[in-house]
């Protein structure tokens, strides 16, 4: 009898700590739940993109009512502050690519094609992608954390009851800032990436700087260049949207802030890769 009672008390206690106890669940149940969640998530993302579209349409018609000061603030933290790291990473990316390419190209005696390989990979793929990764880590997570903190402190509630549309106040300045800033970061990243490749070409393969430069200019057409920038702008929309979404749907506690930021980064990277795949396919078709 006493044992029975002990057991009941124990389970009561366990119930209180259920959050911290690792759970082993049947695989089927888990898979079902996860796919349901994934499906709901896709619907939420589509919903927020719809809401953003509506808010953007409002912003386009009333440009005076965009909160420019906040936009500039976010441009500063998402752009200016991210410039050194973006440049650094893209330069190293160019260096790595150049080195790998030079090993292969050298076998065929086509050293100059290193310029093609590095230039095209950086401008079409890696420049926009690396910048997107950096911005997901810096801006996406910051957006999610900021918005979820505002939720905890009732600021979002206050915003709604003051008659303001949270998407216009919170999302549009962030979105606009990222759309303006990410293509610019990408341009810088592209240049640095190409310089990275050039470093290998010049010092390891002994190509003259001017030859490498001319070859690069020849292969990178305005079209390839703008494809990269379009990608970058699309990534900006996705990163801002998913960052804000994760913030808005966060749980009302401090734990929620952390998981919102984490989830913004994970979903951001995932969405960016998916979008990149789609766009690469589309650009290759048309």
């Amino acid at each position: 009898m006493a044992e029975e009672k002990d057991r009941i008390i124990e389970t009561e206690v366990q119930k209180q700590f259920r959050l911290h106890e690792p759970q082993i669940r049947p695989a089927i149940e888990y898979t079902g739940e996860a796919s349901l969640k994934f499906w709901k998530d896709i619907i939420n993302i589509l919903a927020i993109i719809g809401e953003i579209a509506e808010a953007s349409w409002f912003a386009i018609r009333n440009p005076r009512r965009i909160r420019w000061r906040e936009t500039l603030f976010y441009m500063d933290i998402c752009g200016a502050d991210a410039l050194p790291i973006s440049c650094m990473i893209c330069y190293l990316m160019g260096l790595i690519l150049g080195f790998q390419a030079s090993l292969q190209m050298h076998k065929f005696g086509t050293d100059l094609y290193v310029a093609d390989m590095v230039g095209l990979s950086i401008v079409k793929e890696l420049g926009p992608l690396m910048v997107a990764m950096i911005c997901t880590g810096r801006a996406g997570s910051a957006f999610a954390a900021e918005i979820s903190t505002m939720k905890v402190s009732e600021e979002i509630d206050a915003m709604v009851t003051m008659g303001f549309n949270p998407s216009r106040f919170l999302i549009i300045p962030k979105l606009l800032a990222l759309i303006l800033v990410m293509p610019v970061l990408t341009v810088f990243g592209n240049v640095l990436g190409i310089i990275g490749g050039m470093t290998v070409g010049v010092f390891s393969l002994g190509l003259p700087v001017i030859t490498y430069f001319n070859r690069t200019v020849l292969v990178i057409t305005p079209r390839t260049f703008s494809e990269g920038l379009i990608k970058s702008a699309v990534f900006a929309v996705l990163i801002a949207a998913v960052g804000c979404l994760r913030g808005l749907e966060a749980k009302n506690d401090t734990h929620g802030v952390g998981s919102a930021a984490t989830s913004a980064v994970v979903s951001g990277i995932f969405l960016v890769i998916i979008a990149d795949t789609l766009m690469t396919y589309l650009f290759s078709r048309f």
Binding site: M150, E154, E155, D157, A158, M159, T161, G163, N165
Partner: protein
């Protein structure tokens, strides 16, 4: 016109509120008239903040309806809701000032968005509100640079920015010292007398219940209903249930002390 006056400011009709499947309060009915100071009391966790957030249209009730000046805020779509919301100001339990903006910007926000006042007029109005809550000179500060009580007063200044018809307060006097709390009470009465603002106040502060309220309802966690209602002085005389009695007697005690 006479008919217009008869429409109560706020009406809760068979209101059942809660979170998801959890019912916090059931079948609540009350009416708040224009210019009335209506106080909601009850123990911690009985659903005072919950019902307040429903009254201001943030959550959808499980059942029942809420009429603001005869218009349902439950059935309204978002545009209508926003229009109704502009007619009231809310002071949140935690203040809820926008932490990215200065105090002045916080208070000026609605004036900038909803009025055509020139900048100096907005500035003048902001300072007037700051003075009203005793925070002259705090305008350029950020919310994080203020104490808890100062935040609350700044938030009240923000709630009053558009001179709303209804003001909702979630525990206005917690984290205020007695002198400032008394100032808050005077301010509430003064606003009502000057502008005829309707006040809905959630509070634990026993002194201010007696000092300011026209009518009180007391909520109860166990029965999920209103266990007492009426004028605070009448309530004490009318042989209330033990829980209400205890609450009010403690109020009497603290009043005897001063």
């Amino acid at each position: 016109m006479a008919e217009n006056n008869a429409v109560p400011m706020i009406q809760a009709i068979d209101l059942t509120v809660g979170y998801g499947d959890i019912v916090v309060l059931e079948n609540i009915n009350f009416t708040i008239n224009k210019g009335e100071i209506f106080v909601i009391i009850g123990g911690s966790g009985c659903g005072k903040s919950t019902i307040l957030k429903h009254l201001i249209g943030l959550y959808e009730p499980i059942k029942g309806d809420i009429l603001i000046k005869g218009e349902s805020i439950v059935k309204a779509d978002w545009d209508e809701k926003r229009r109704i919301m502009k007619s009231f100001g809310v002071l949140y339990q935690s203040g809820a000032l926008f932490s990215a903006l200065t105090i002045t910007e916080n208070i000026a926000l609605q004036l900038e968005e909803y009025t055509d006042y020139p900048e100096d007029e907005i500035f003048r109005r902001v300072n007037e509100k700051l003075k009203l809550v005793g925070l002259e000179g705090a305008g350029p500060k950020m919310p994080s640079e203020l104490s808890g009580g100062m935040k609350k007063r700044a938030a009240l200044a923000r709630a009053m920015a558009l001179d709303p018809e209804i003001l909702f307060f979630d525990e206005p006097s917690t984290s205020l010292d007695p002198v400032t709390a008394a100032m808050m009470d005077r301010l509430i009465i003064d606003l009502r007398d000057r502008l005829g603002t309707t006040m809905v106040i959630v509070t634990h502060d026993l002194d201010s219940i007696y000092a300011i309220s026209d009518r009180v309802i007391m909520l109860d966690k166990a029965t999920k209903t209103i266990v007492a209602r009426g004028k605070p002085s009448e309530l004490r005389k009318s042989n209330p249930p033990p829980s209400v009695k205890e609450f009010l007697e403690r109020a009497g005690l603290s009043r005897k002390m001063d």
